[in-house]
């Protein structure tokens, strides 16, 4: 889907929210939902940062680490990809305290979602590194660069461009997964919706607004990643377009 269509959808979604906000039946819920959205965004951002760190780290360790670390990273990736995000969230929330480690719910949310998406991210990073042409590695060897120098200066900058679209998808998945934190008592957007629904039974206005708000967040993220991708690939192949 083109970036123009995405922007049009975003504008339309914002317009609908604007129109609904003029109606008493809807505007009533807006402040509470916006409050929830702030928490959603906080968790999404921190979770994404953790996901990036874990993704890059696990990928590098699996590719170049010493054997024991490599196994550890593989176990991490398989466990977090192989079980579901909600199970991980519940495990950290309900089970970890039984081992004497009690994290507060916000931290559990960020850690669970970050680790979950980081596991998928490590496959993305790994794939992108391996997809850089073999000749680039060989040129680095011929220039006597060390492994770290090759990665930092030549391979990762090229892999970066290939990584942007799949990471964009992962960030969207993470944003959507933040709704699960409502099930561990955090009052994010989904939680607020549930709570208001139980108190007022005004189901239609509440869930319409909530869907629109998630849509807006997703679209902003998608558009941002598209722009980043455009800039990065222009940087990589400067002059090609001219």
């Amino acid at each position: 889907m083109g970036i123009g269509t995405l922007v049009a959808m975003l504008a339309a979604a914002l317009a609908v929210i604007g129109v609904l906000a003029t109606q008493q039946a809807y505007s009533l819920f807006l402040p509470g939902l916006l409050q929830g959205a702030v928490l959603t965004i906080e968790i999404a951002i921190l979770g994404s940062l953790l996901a990036i760190v874990m993704g890059v780290l696990a990928a590098l360790v699996r590719l170049y680490g010493p054997a024991p670390l490599r196994w550890l990273a593989t176990v991490y990736v398989e466990i977090f990809r192989g079980t579901s995000a909600l199970v991980q969230l519940f495990w950290l929330f309900f089970v970890l305290p039984q081992f004497g480690v009690t994290l507060d719910a916000f931290l559990v949310a960020v850690v669970a979602l970050g680790l979950n998406v980081g596991a998928y991210g490590s496959e993305v990073v790994r794939g992108a590194i391996l997809s850089v042409a073999r000749g680039q590695w060989e040129a680095c060897t011929a220039l006597n660069m060390s492994r770290a120098q090759m990665l930092r200066r030549v391979i990762l900058p090229q892999a970066f461009v290939a990584m942007i679209p799949p990471w964009g998808n992962l960030f969207i998945e993470l944003l959507k997964s933040t709704s699960l934190v409502s099930l561990i008592t955090l009052s994010d957007l989904a939680f607020k919706a549930q709570q208001m629904n139980q108190n007022t039974f005004k189901t239609i206005p509440i869930f319409t607004l909530v869907l629109l708000m998630y849509l807006v967040m997703s679209l902003v993220l998608t558009i941002g990643m598209r722009l980043l991708e455009r800039r990065a690939s222009a940087g990589l192949a400067r002059g090609k377009a001219a």
């Binding site: 398989e78 466990i79 199970v87 519940f90 709704s179 869930f207």
Partner: protein, 219 residues
């Protein structure tokens, strides 16, 4: 004691029963997703000027959380007189959500086929239906099937969301055991292990299938 084996043995049969519910939910919603997705993809090709609408629809579904969609169907549909039990509402929501993803898989599969194949079919005066059945589908299957397989696994891992509307699947059962006994370690860990085992097995199966399909096309 950190892990209680006799407790584990006690809850295993209960969890096994719940696992049946999870697997049922998975299979039913996947059939729905695969079918609906195919319908969307074919309509896009067959009916002119539907492409844009379908794209927007797919984007809308993929941009909002499945959990909210489950709530939406479970709580909002009754307002229009359509009361669904939790299992049906949940399966419907998952099916529709993944139909959006599946339709993109089919689309990519069809798009991947070289334009020359369509043109050659026209040159041979094959009907649209024959072209689809004999030329396009056989070539589209090798990339499509493994991708659908991956979504089947992904969908399976989303079924714990049904616990949010109290469907008695694995996660909900584990949570109830936990709140009844104040022991969460065994039930939740067992649920995790079950998902892990199923995912690893399916991943291996999908890889095998992929190899098989690729071999057949090359030949």
């Amino acid at each position: 004691m950190i892990w209680d084996w006799s407790f584990t043995l006690e809850i295993l049969p209960v969890l096994a029963q719940a696992a049946v519910v999870s697997v049922e939910a998975t299979l039913i919603s996947f059939v729905l997703a695969a079918t609906l997705g195919l319908v969307l993809a074919v309509v896009r090709i067959a009916v002119p000027r539907t492409g844009w609408t379908i794209s927007v629809l797919v984007e809308l579904i993929r941009s909002t959380p499945l959990l909210i969609q489950i709530f939406f169907i479970y709580f909002v549909f009754p307002k229009f007189g359509l009361v669904l039990d939790a299992f049906t509402a949940g399966v419907l929501a998952i099916g529709i959500h993944y139909a959006a993803y599946c339709s993109e898989v089919y689309r990519a599969g069809f798009d991947n086929i070289h334009r020359g194949q369509w043109e050659a079919s026209i040159a041979l005066n094959l009907s649209a239906w024959t072209t689809f059945r004999d030329i396009i589908i056989p070539q589209a299957i090798p990339p499509i099937v493994p991708a659908l397989g991956n979504y089947l696994v992904a969908l399976f891992k989303e079924t714990p969301l049904l616990s949010a509307i109290a469907v008695m699947e694995l996660m909900q059962t584990a949570k109830i055991i936990g709140s009844d006994t104040f022991r969460y370690t065994e039930p939740i860990t067992l649920v995790g292990l079950f998902f892990l085992a199923m995912s690893l097995v399916s991943a291996a199966l999908i890889r095998a299938l992929e190899r098989l399909l690729n071999r057949r096309t090359v030949r």
